[in-house]
Amino acid sequence: MATKKKFEVWTVVSLVILALFILFMVYPMFGLLKQAVVTDDGAFTFQQFKEFFSKNYYSQTIVNSLEVTITVTLVALVLGIPFAYFYSFYHLKGSKVLFVVSILCCMSAPFIGAYSWIMLLGRGGVITTFVKNTFGITLGSIYGFKGILLVQSLKFFPLVFIYMNGAFKNIDNTLMEASANMGCTGVRRLFTIVMALSMPTILAAAMMVFMQAFADFGTPGLLGESFQTFPVLIYNQYLGETGQNHHFAAALAVIAIVVTAIVFFLQKWATSKFKFSMNALHPVEKKKPKGLAGVLMYVYCYGLVAVSFMPQLYIIYLSFRKNTGYTFQPGFSLGNYELAIKRLLGRSIKNTAIMGVVALAIIIVIAVLIAYLVVRRSNVLNNGIDTIAMLPYIMPGAVIGLALLLAFGKKPLALTGTLTIMIIAMVIRRLPYTIRSATATLMQISLSIEEASISLGASKLKTFAKVTVPMMANGILSGAILSWVTIVTELSSSIILYNNRNITLTMSTYVAISRGSYGLACAFAAILTVVTIVSLVIYLAVSKSEDVQL
C-alpha cells in the first residue's frame, strides 16, 4: 500500500493552496524584488540601494526606526512584566477590568492612541494649554521620538502582559515551594526562578512588540513629523505628494523585510537557548496584596491602564462635542456624526463588514486546511506551503500593500481599488497567526480519534468534516474574533491600497485625521473604538478563558 502512491483528495488541496500562494504571495514578492533591482529599461541595478545608504536623509530613517522600536520594546517589557507579575501572583480587586481594558488598549486601531495624545498633549492640546495657562510651563513637544515612544509603549505593554500571564500560569507552585524550601524567596526567587522560567515567553513577547512597532505606520505617520521612520518613508516614496519613486519604494520594502527577517532569526536563535516546556499541575496560588507594597501595586496597575485607555475615552467624549470644522465649541451635538454620514460613513461600514467577514472566512478555511496538511499529512510539499504561509509574519503591512499594488495594478489581473485586493491583503497579513493557532489546536487532538472514525466506516473527508473540524472549532472561533478585530483596525497596508470606492472605517478615520477635520475624525474614531470594544467583549464571552492567542 505504501509503495503505490495512492491518489488522495488532500494532494489536490495541497496543490490548490500552493497555486493560490504562488499567485498572491510569491508572485507579488518577486515583482517587488524585480522593481527594486531592475530599471524601467530592464537593466539590472543596485542604484536604489546605493541611493538609500549614501544619503543620510534616507538611511537615517532606518536608524530612527530601530532606535524607537528597540526603545519601545524595552519599555513595553519593563511596563508589562511587573503588571503581569502583580496580576498573576496577587489577588487584585477588579482584575477582570484590568484584563479587559488592557486587551482593548492593544487591540485598538494603531493610530487612535496617537491621535488622542495629540488632542491632549499636542500643540493646542488640552493638557498643554492647561499647564501653560496655570503654571506658565511650556511642555515639550509630543512630536518626534518621545511621542512615538509614549504612544507605542502604552499600546504594546498589554501584549507583553498577555504573553507573560500565560507563562506565569504555567509555573507550577511546587517549583516555587521547592525554591523556598532551599532558601530562595522574594526578589531573588523572582529573578532566578520565575523570570528564568519565563525567558522563552519574554523573548516571544519582545519579538511580537518589535514586529508590530517596527511595522506601525499610523503612530509615526501622525506623530513623527521630521522624525521619519521606515514605513512612513516607504509610503511617502510610493504615494507621497513629493518625488514618487516606485523603484526606490520597492528597494525600501526589500530592506524592511531584511531587517525584520534578521530580528526573526535572532529571536529564534535566542529562544533555542531556553528549551524547556512547562505545564502546571498546581498553578501558583494568588496572594492578597498587603501593606504599602499592596497599595503601590494597585496604583501601578490601575494607573497604567488608565493612562493607556483614558485617551480613547476622551476621543469618544470629543466626538459628541460641538465642532465647527476645525475647532471644538462649548456644548454637545451630534453634528460630527451627521457629517460622518455625509462623508461615506455608510460605505465605510459596509466595506469594512464585507472585507472582515470574507477575509475571515477565507483565513479560517485556509488555516484549517494547512494545519491539517502540516500536522496529519506532513511531507515536503506541505511543509513548504507552511513555510510560505509564515512569510507574511516578517513582512510589514506597508510592504504587503506595496507588493500587491505592483502585482495587481495592471491587466490581466487589475484589482487596484477593489475590495478584493483589500481582502487579499488582510488574508495574507492575518494568515500566519491563524495557522499557528489552528496547528496548535490540531496537535492536541489525538490521532486515534480520527482513526476511530475511519474504522467506523467514515471516509477521510467525512472524518475531517464531522470529527476533526468540530473538535478544532473552539480554538479557531476565539482566534477568529481576534483576527476580525485586527482586520477591522488594520492601517499600514490599507493605506496603500485604499481609494474612494473600497474605503474602510479605519481609512475614513485616518483621512479625516490627516485632513485636520477634528470633529469628523473623532466621530469616526469613536465608531471604530466601539466596534472594537463590542467585538472584544464578544470574544471574551466566547472564549471564557484568559488564554488570548494573538
Binding site: A2, S448, S453, L456
Partner: protein, 370 residues
C-alpha cells in the same frame, strides 16, 4: 459472522528500519487472540497493520478468503478500541455509538434499535445523552466497546484498552470484555503487555519479542511449557539456572547445582547428554528446612510474608540468586542466614538447550507456523 484472520509473511519497516521481519499467523474464527510482549516488540504495529492504519511492506493479510492488504481501513469492517478510547468529545454517548451505523447508511429505525441494543448490552443506556467529558474512565471504555461492536464488525481489534484504568476497574472490565466477546462470538485480536490480563481473557496468546512471534498457544501451555527461555521469563516469574542433562541407558537425569534428579519427560529428538538452561518457577522449588537433606544447598537472604504465600530470596551454593514461593505455614518464617536444602519439582520444571532457544521437553504446544 466470525472470520478467520490469516497473515502470511508480513513485513513492516520504517525506512530501512525493519520492525517485523517475517511474520505468519492464523487467528481462528471466533477466537479471543492476544498479542503479548514487552513494549517495542511490534504487537501494536501488527495490530495497526490488520486495522489498516499502518502500511504493509510485504506479505498478505486475509480476512477469511478476502485479501485486505489494499482495502481502505473504512471498508475493512473492523471494530477498534483504542488505548485512550478515542471517544468523540463533541458528541453525546448516543451519537458516538451510532456514528458507525450512520456511515453504513442503515435506515433510521434500525440505527436507533441497534444503538439501544448495544448501549443496553454495555450498560450505558442511562448515559445516552451525556457528553463524554462527564463519564468516568470505565464508562468511556464501555462507550468505546459499544461503538466498536454495534457495527457488527468481522473482527474486533483492541489496543491496550485497559491500560488507562485503575487496577480494580481493570479486573472488572476484562471480565466484561471477555463475556461480551464470548456472547457476540466475534474474532478478537487484543494487544497488551500485561501477562496476567492476557491469561485472564485469551483463548490463545502469541508472545512476541523483537518483531518475531516466540510462542503461540493457550495460556496454560505457554505458562507450563514455554517454547524458549524468553517466553519462560516473560510469562510469570522464574529462576534461570545453569545445569546439564546426562543420558544413560535411555534414561535422562537432570543435574543442577550439585543436585540430580531423574527427568522422564525429555523429547526423543533431544535425548542426548548436553549442557542445559533450566527455568524453575519460584513455586517449583521445594524448600526443606533440614539443610542436610539431599538437594540444592542455599542460604536465606530475605523473607517476605504476603499472607497466602511467603517469598524467600536465597543464595544458592553456586552463588546464583533464586526466589522461592511457599504457601505460608504456621511455623516461624525462616530468618536471614538460615541454611536450607532445595528440591526441584521435575514434573513442572522446564529445560532448554544451553542457549535457551528451544525447550527439550515433551508437551510443548506451539502453533507457530515455521
Amino acid at each position: 459472522m466470525s472470520v478467520e484472520i490469516v497473515i502470511k509473511h508480513a513485513l513492516k519497516k520504517y525506512g530501512e528500519n525493519v520492525i517485523i521481519p517475517d511474520l505468519s499467523l492464523d487467528i481462528r474464527p471466533g477466537e479471543f487472540f492476544t498479542l503479548l510482549g514487552p513494549s517495542g516488540c511490534g504487537k501494536t504495529t501488527l495490530l495497526r497493520m490488520i486495522a489498516g492504519f499502518n502500511s504493509i511492506e510485504g506479505g498478505d493479510f486475509y480476512f477469511g478468503e478476502k485479501r485486505i492488504n489494499d482495502l481502505d481501513p473504512a471498508k475493512r469492517n473492523i471494530g477498534m478500541v483504542f488505548q485512550n478510547y478515542a471517544i468523540f468529545p463533541h458528541m453525546t454517548v448516543r451519537k458516538n455509538v451510532e456514528f458507525g451505523l450512520k456511515n453504513k447508511k442503515l435506515p433510521k429505525d434500525q440505527i436507533a434499535s441497534r444503538t439501544d441494543q448495544f448501549m443496553k448490552l454495555m450498560q450505558i443506556s442511562e448515559y445516552a445523552d451525556r457528553m463524554p467529558e462527564r463519564l468516568s474512565g470505565g464508562q468511556q471504555q464501555r462507550v468505546a466497546l459499544a461503538r466498536a461492536l454495534c457495527i457488527e464488525p468481522d473482527v474486533l481489534l483492541m489496543d491496550e484498552p485497559l491500560s488507562n484504568l485503575d487496577a480494580k476497574l481493570r479486573v472488572e472490565m476484562r471480565t466484561v470484555i471477555k463475556n461480551i466477546q464470548h456472547d457476540v462470538g466475534i474474532t478478537c485480536v487484543y494487544v497488551t503487555h500485561d501477562q496476567e490480563e492476557a491469561m485472564a481473557v485469551s483463548d490463545r496468546i502469541a508472545v512476541m519479542s523483537g518483531g518475531v512471534i516466540q510462542h503461540v498457544g493457550t495460556p496454560k501451555s505457554i505458562y507450563q511449557r514455554p517454547a524458549n527461555i524468553f517466553v519462560a521469563t516473560f510469562i510469570g516469574r522464574t529462576n534461570v539456572l545453569k545445569g546439564s542433562v546426562t543420558v544413560e541407558g535411555g534414561k535422562a537425569t537432570l543435574n543442577v547445582c550439585g543436585y540430580s534428579a531423574p527427568l522422564p519427560t525429555v523429547a526423543p529428538e533431544y535425548m542426548k547428554s548436553q549442557d542445559v538452561t533450566i527455568s524453575v518457577r519460584p513455586e517449583e522449588l521445594l524448600l526443606n528446612r533440614n539443610a542436610d537433606m539431599p538437594g540444592i544447598k542455599a542460604v536465606v537472604k530475605d523473607a517476605v510474608f504476603l499472607g497466602l504465600n511467603t517469598h524467600y530470596f536465597v543464595k544458592l551454593s553456586t552463588g546464583e540468586d533464586a526466589e522461592i514461593i511457599q504457601e505460608s505455614s504456621i511455623e516461624d518464617t525462616l530468618a536471614p542466614g538460615a541454611e536450607i536444602s532445595l528440591g526441584v519439582n521435575t514434573d513442572k520444571v522446564n529445560v532448554f538447550v544451553a542457549d535457551g532457544s528451544a525447550n527439550i521437553l515433551t508437551g510443548v504446544c506451539n502453533d507457530l507456523k515455521a
